[in-house]
Structure formats: C-alpha cells, structure tokens
C-alpha cells in the first residue's frame, strides 16, 4: 500500500449553475494527468437543472486516489449565491485557502468560521479584460498554479476540452487562465509533487461500466433514463452501433428489462442500467430470467433511497433488494465494483457470469463511483468474453432444461433447427413443458441453485489485501476509503489488519470466506447504509469470528478516510 496518496491537493470550485466550474474542474484534472499526476473529481449539483448551485470537487495526487480527502486545501467561489446549501460538502479548516472575487458578495459566515485564509482574486474583472474571457478560466488558472501544474499542461487541457474547431475560444480561455495562473507564485504550490510519468486514463465509473460491458460482449442494451445511471446508456448508445450492436430506448424499466431478456433469448448478450426505483420495477423481469434461464445483466447505480430519495447522492442501500428482492427461490448473482476503474473489470465479469450461467446478474455500482471521474492507470484487458453453452447439434432426445451435473443446460438460439422450445416463467419440466409437479419443481430448483452455487468464481469473489488477526470487510465505493484509511494508520496498527473487499455478494462463498478469515479473531464490517445490510447478510450466511463490529451510516455524505482511520485506530486499540 506504499503507493497510496501521502500528500494530495484538494480543491473545491463553486459557482451557480452555468458558471462553468465543472468544465474548469475537468480541465484541471486533464492538466494534472498531463503532468503525470493522478486525480479524482466529483460533481456536486443541486436538484435544479440550471441555475442552482454547482461544484467541482477535485483531488490531485502523485499516487492513485479512489476517494475524496477529509478536507480541501482550497475553496474557490466564483460566486457564493448558493454556497450555504452546499457547505456540508466543503470541509475546510484554518489551513485552507478561500478564494473570493471582490466583485461578488462576501464569503458567507458559515465558511469564514473555519478560520481559513481569505484571498481576493478579481475573476470577473480579469476575465472581462480578455475578449471572450470567462471567470471560470481565471479560476482554473489560479488553482492550477496553486497545484503546481505547468502552463503547458494547462494549455493542453483547455485545447483538448474545447476541441480543434474552436481556436478563438481556446485562445480566449488560455489568456484568461494565464491571468489567473500568474497571480499565484509557484513557491506557494501546496502539495502535489510531480508524479510518475506514464499513460493515464481519464474515465468515469459509468463510462468504465459501459466499457466493461462492451469488452464483455454486450451487443444489446435497453435504456430508460434515470439519475445517476444514464451516462452508462449514453456512452453505450453510439459505441454499441460501432460494435455492430444496438441500444433501444424503452418506455419504462418494466420494458427495458424485458427487452434485454428478449434480446438475450435471441442469443445476443444484453444489459440494462438503472438505479434503485428502476431496479424495483425490474425485479419481476429478473425472476423471469431466473426461471426461463436467460442471461441478462442489470447495473444498479445506487443512490440514496428509499423511493426517490436523494437521486444525486450515493448510498449502498440496495443490497437487500438486489439479494432478497425476488419472489420465490430465485438463485441469481450480485456483484459490486470496488472502485471507478474496477467498474470495467466487474462489469465485464458480470457479463461473463450471466452468459456462462444463463442467469441474471445485478451489478451494484453507486453514484460515487459511477459519476466520479478519475485519472488512473489504464485498465488492462482481461480475457473474459461472453460464452454461452449453446445447443447446436440437436437430436430427438434434446431437452432445453436438461438436468446436468453443473446445472447448466445447453441453450438453443432461435434459428437453430430442432431446438424449438418455449422459454417460460411457468415452472417446467426438463423438456420445457409447463409443469405443476413437485418432482419437476424440485429438480429445476436444484438445478438452478446448483449452477449458481457450484460455478467457479475463482479469486474474483473478493479483493484481499494484507494479513492480520483483525479484518475489515467492506464492499463497493467504501473500499477505496477504507484502503486509504488503512494506509494512514501507523504500521504497527495497519500490519495487524487485513482488508476483504467483497466483489461477489451473491451467491455466498462460505469456503473461501472461511479461508480468508482463518486466523482472524476480530472483524469490522464497513458500509454506507442505515441498517448494516451487508453485516446482516454476513450474519445470516457465514461463520464469523466471535467479535464482529460494524461501522455503517447512510448517505448522502460519503465516508472520508480520516473518519474511518480514526474508527479503525480506536477499534485496534480496544
């Protein structure tokens, strides 16, 4: 864990909607990547589509980062119109710098109370001195200067973002940015050192999910827009066409899950993406995919629930719905990516699992990793590729739902002569005929359970790091925060702690877990929800050490590494 961020630089850019702070944050991240740094950006927005508050929270570091820091080094407000509503997002202290434009209202008292040093930057006036200049570019130049980013990298980032056909706009933006840049002295640059060189990717979790789906072989997606999952579908729409596939917009989530199942019945690996309310609507369809044995992947980018909840903020609270939501005994698979870049891997794996087991797979991403944009090392190709066991040479004795040792029955794809069968949500015999007999029900239940339980999930079921008699068990976006928290602990504490980040939440892996927990005498379960949903799942299904603690709290605020480090430290010293 030596490559974890020791010194990073965090800046919050704030302004009313349309002020361009997200564009500036995006450029800052691009410029940092150009300098060999790593980074992460969160867009914090209010519910208003336009005109509300908007913020870009950017963290830059010489080593990969997977979460926000505890505090911000710099809070820059292009204006403070809606700052009060977002103040909880800006953890600043006496060592922070608050940058304000004297032409705007004064910095709100709730912010000055932190004791942060206030600096004046005439963003609007400087921008007005350049034809076509905008205050957000002045702000960008200023924070880039503070972050120790080079002029060349800044110019590159602006040109890249604005595109080749907008030279006038690029010139104006660069000029404005340089006015801001020149107002900082490089000696002040607080934290970020020059990082290692090398190729970097700049990618959001939702894009990474789309990429994983494409790499996994998905060629049909059904789409119904929902925050915060829509970007997966928007990213996929043109690229699926390029890949010879297609995306269809559905009228609702009831339709999108059924479209995906229909396409997959036709032999085309299929996916849909949604968030909690959509998952609820898709549950009946998922049960159909279980019973009819049709592969399908549903990505749930979790947001604060229940109901409409807080649509733009993360929570790990759909676990119960994903695991237990289906009626009947309905074996299926639930996986969760544990970082932005892991969305590529986990989604690709999910497609592989769905295709191989002819069952639905739910991918539990969340708003944080879905919408965070990171600068990271490129994600290597892995060899999973959708592979369905097909029935091709069919004779008289063929049975669609044949009882096989591994529970997986060869599946004929429409067009295959002699393989005609009716896929059915009714219980059926091995010959795919509707059946109400207890014999057929039990053999099919056993078969469907066996194919999921006995599948070889290899080492991918969890990421396990470190050794020790204490273990932290976590999942999803909380993993990155826990990793950083462990890194911050003194080595005599951290060497006693093992991290187990579950990627496979269902089916349970009792043997693998027993091996992972061998020698562990205390366990802490960390997750972001109100009731400890993973903790309760573990309690129900696994042999756990006698001493199990739990740290769980709901969204909308994400865990910060300091909060978890403090908790783990106390726990280790108990």
């Amino acid at each position: 864990m030596s490559d974890r961020p020791g010194k990073s630089f965090s800046v919050a850019l704030l302004g009313k909607g349309g002020s361009g702070v997200v564009t500036a944050g995006d450029m800052l991240l691009t410029a940092a990547a150009r300098c060999g740094l790593y980074g992460l950006m969160i867009r914090a927005v209010g519910p208003q589509i336009r005109g509300g508050e908007s913020a870009a929270l950017v963290r830059l570091s010489p080593a990969p980062v997977e979460c926000l820091d505890d505090r911000f080094d710099v809070l820059l407000g292009i204006d403070w119109n809606h700052a009060e509503r977002m103040v909880a997002d800006f953890a600043i202290d006496a060592n922070s710098i608050v940058v304000t434009d004297p032409a705007e209202d004064a910095v709100p008292q709730s912010i000055t109370a932190s004791g942060a040093t206030e600096r004046q930057l005439e963003m609007k006036a400087l921008a007005d001195s350049v034809s076509g200049g905008r205050a957000n570019m002045v702000a960008l130049g200023y924070v880039a200067g503070l972050a120790g980013i080079s002029r060349e990298a800044l110019e590159h980032a602006i040109a890249k973002k604005l595109g080749p056909k907008r030279q006038e706009s690029i010139d104006a933006s660069v000029a404005a940015a340089m006015l801001g840049f020149s107002r900082t002295q490089s000696s002040e640059a607080p934290q970020a050192a020059n990082g290692a060189s090398g190729k970097r990717w700049m990618i959001s979790g939702n894009q990474a999910t789309g990429l994983g789906a494409l790499r996994g072989g998905v060629r049909f997606a059904a789409a119904y827009p929902i925050t915060p999952a829509t970007e997966i579908l928007e990213w996929l729409a043109p690229r699926l066409l390029d890949a010879g596939g297609t995306l269809t917009q559905a009228e609702d989530e009831l339709a999108s899950i059924n479209m995906a199942i229909g396409a997959s019945f036709g032999g085309v690996p299929s996916l849909t993406a949604t968030s909690g309310p959509g998952l609820s609507l898709m549950i009946e369809g998922l049960g159909l995919a279980v019973c009819a044995e049709i592969p399908v992947v549903v990505v749930d980018v979790m947001r604060v629930g229940p109901s409409t909840g807080i649509p733009t903020k993360p929570e790990q609270s759909d676990l119960n719905a994903a695991v237990y939501g289906l009626h009947g005994d309905a074996p299926h698979i639930v996986v969760a990516p544990n970082s932005v870049t892991d969305c590529v891997y986990t989604t690709q794996w999910a497609v592989h699992l769905a295709e191989a087991t002819q069952a639905p797979v739910i991918v539990l991403s969340d708003q944080f990793i879905g919408q965070a944009i990171v600068v990271a090392d490129p994600v290597a190709e892995i060899s999973f590729f959708a592979k369905r066991k097909l029935a091709e040479n069919i004779d008289e004795a063929f049975e669609r739902y044949a009882i096989t040792a591994d529970g997986i029955s060869p599946m004929p794809i429409p067009g295959t002569a002699g393989g005609q069968y009716t896929a059915d949500g009714l219980e059926h015999s091995s010959k795919a005929k509707p059946s109400g007999s207890s014999g057929d029900h039990c053999t099919q239940l056993d078969k469907r359970a066996r194919k999921i339980a006995d599948f070889d999930y290899g080492q991918h079921w969890a990421d396990i790091e470190g050794e020790g008699e204490l273990a932290i068990l976590t999942w999803g976006s909380t993993t990155g925060v826990v990793r950083e928290a462990l890194h911050r602990l003194s080595s005599d504490v951290s060497r006693k702690v093992k991290l187990i980040a579950l990627r496979l939440l269902l089916p349970v892996r009792q043997e693998e877990m027993a091996a992972a927990l061998d020698g562990v005498n205390r366990l802490m379960v960390i997750e972001q929800n109100h009731t400890g949903q993973l903790y309760r799942l573990l309690r129900a299904w696994y042999e756990l050490p006698e001493n199990v603690d739990t740290l769980h709290r709901p969204g909308p605020g994400v865990f910060r590494p300091g909060e978890i480090a403090t908790k783990i430290n106390e726990w280790c010293l108990e």
Binding site: R239, T246, I261, G262, A263, S264, G267, G415, A423
Partner: protein, 277 residues
C-alpha cells in the same frame, strides 16, 4: 441451419404435442389453427419464428406451436418481443395475448410498440374478460357487465384498442373473429408480411364466463368498404362502427424501426483510446 428456402410444411406441422389448457369451445383454439395456417401459407421455417406472450389463457399459445416461444410475465410480451426482434431482425416475431394482458397491465407498452413500429405482429385475443382468474372485467368489458369484483358493472367506459393503435402509429390495423378460421389465417399472413408494427384484434369468445359471446358468430360482418391508407379515415370508421366489423382497417407505409446490423462476435474494437490523456 437458418432458413433460406421456403419451408413446405402443413399447418399441423407447426403445432406442438402439448395439449392446450383452454376450455372446450374457447375461441383461442381457432386462433391457434389460424396462426398455424398463416405461417404455413407463408412457408416460414418453424425455427425462424418466435411467438412471444404474456400471461392469461390466450398467452399460453406459444407452447402449442412448434416454433421458438417465450411465455413471459404478465403484460410484458411486447417489450420482450421488441428486444428479440431488434436484436434478431432475421427472425419472424409474433406477439400474442389477451385483452387484460395487452390493454390493462401492458397498456403502456402497446402505445409505445405502435409508436416504435418495430416489425412485429401483435395478436390480441379479445374476450372482454379475465378468464384465467375466473371472470373479472377487463378494459374492453362493457360498463354494466355484472361480476363478483364489480357488482352491477364497473361503470367504466371500455378501451377502444383499434383507435388507440391508430392514434399511436401502428402500421397495420385489423379486426377479426376467431370463428372465421380461414379469414383470420389470411389476415394474419397479411399482418406478418406487412412491414412495421401490425396489430390484429381477434374477437375470441370465452364461452365459460361469457356464454353470451356465443352470439358473436351471428353479429360479426364484413366491413362495408375496403381498408384505407388514411389513418384519420380509419379512426372515424372504427369509432362509428358497431364493434363487429371485421377485416383489415388500415395499412400504413411508415418506415419501420431502424434495426441493428447483424452483430459480430469477433468485434475487438478499441474504445479505450478515448480515455487516454
């Protein structure tokens, strides 16, 4: 093994050996016979056809045919069929079900399937009742029809499926009567052959819970005029008729849903370059 040459099978070759669950005298037997005749007439290979349905008596129809079938969940036959046809444009996709499945729980999908105009044929066997649950009013039931669930009647105006289909953009709209097996077979063959979304309402009596529907055979009659290509004219006709006019009402020429090109398993495109900074 995909079908290229016309398939020379008899209608009976398209039926499976599974015995229908339908009551004696049910109109759906005739619809099954008509559907088998229509696909035999079109010389389609059974493995190139998929029949997709939801839940209800009539939705049992896929299992009674020797084609690929999908008996899905209640109300979602159209999305299932849509996904299949969009992903596999080479298949002939036929969607089938009842009035409760298609007009009530699945009503929203009907609107959007008509709009989307994917090249599928949707057959609704309309008996103005929920039969499988033993006789509750459906969206096409008359408001004064007495039942346990709605004593004295629902008091609610019936849904007018053909008008809705026309208004929503269906490309082929027709009404038939199950008892007219040959006429229905001919109409279904025409619907399947017509590009885009084809909607066929088949009056199919439920003799068990609606014995009064035995009279339908005496009430249906051919349309006074042939089909039109003018949707507004078709809507006026169907809104002013007695509900027993059978025949093709409307044939449109709207472009069908743009379909995917054949998918390529060997795709190794390089989408990750866009992420390089």
């Amino acid at each position: 093994m995909s079908a290229v040459a016309p398939c020379k099978l008899k209608a009976s070759d398209y039926k499976s050996d599974t015995k229908p669950v339908w009551c004696p005298g049910c109109g759906d037997y005739h619809v099954l016979a008509s559907l088998a005749k229509s696909i035999a007439a079109l010389a389609l290979a059974p493995e190139q056809i998929a029949v997709v349905s939801g839940i209800g008596c009539s939705s049992r129809i896929p299992a009674y045919l020797n084609c690929y079938g999908f008996h899905g969940v209640h109300g979602r036959a159209l999305p299932l069929a849509t996904g299949l046809k969009v992903a596999r444009p080479d298949l002939t996709v036929i969607c089938a079900g009842g009035d409760g499945d298609g007009f009530s729980i699945g009503g929203n999908h009907l609107l959007h399937a008509c709009r989307r105009n994917v090249d599928i044929t949707y057959i609704v066997m309309d008996n103005e009742i929920y039969g499988m649950t033993k006789g509750q009013p459906s969206p096409t039931t008359a408001p004064d029809w007495d039942s346990s669930l709605a004593p004295g009647g629902t008091g609610v105006s019936p849904f007018h499926p053909l008008v809705i289909a026309l208004a929503s953009g269906a490309n082929f709209v027709a009404r038939s009567f199950s008892g007219d097996v040959n006429g229905t077979a001919k109409m279904l063959a025409e619907a399947i052959s017509h590009p885009g979304f084809s909607f066929v309402q088949i009056l199919s009596p439920c003799v068990t819970f609606r014995p009064d529907q035995r009279e339908w055979k005496n009430m249906v009659h051919p349309p006074p005029v042939p089909f039109t290509t003018d949707a507004s004219q078709a809507a006026r006709r169907v809104m002013t008729d007695d509900g027993f006019n059978i025949g093709v009402l409307y044939k449109g020429s709207r472009a069908k849903y743009a379909q995917a090109v054949a998918h390529d398993d060997a795709f190794e495109g390089d989408f990750q370059n866009e992420f390089l900074v």
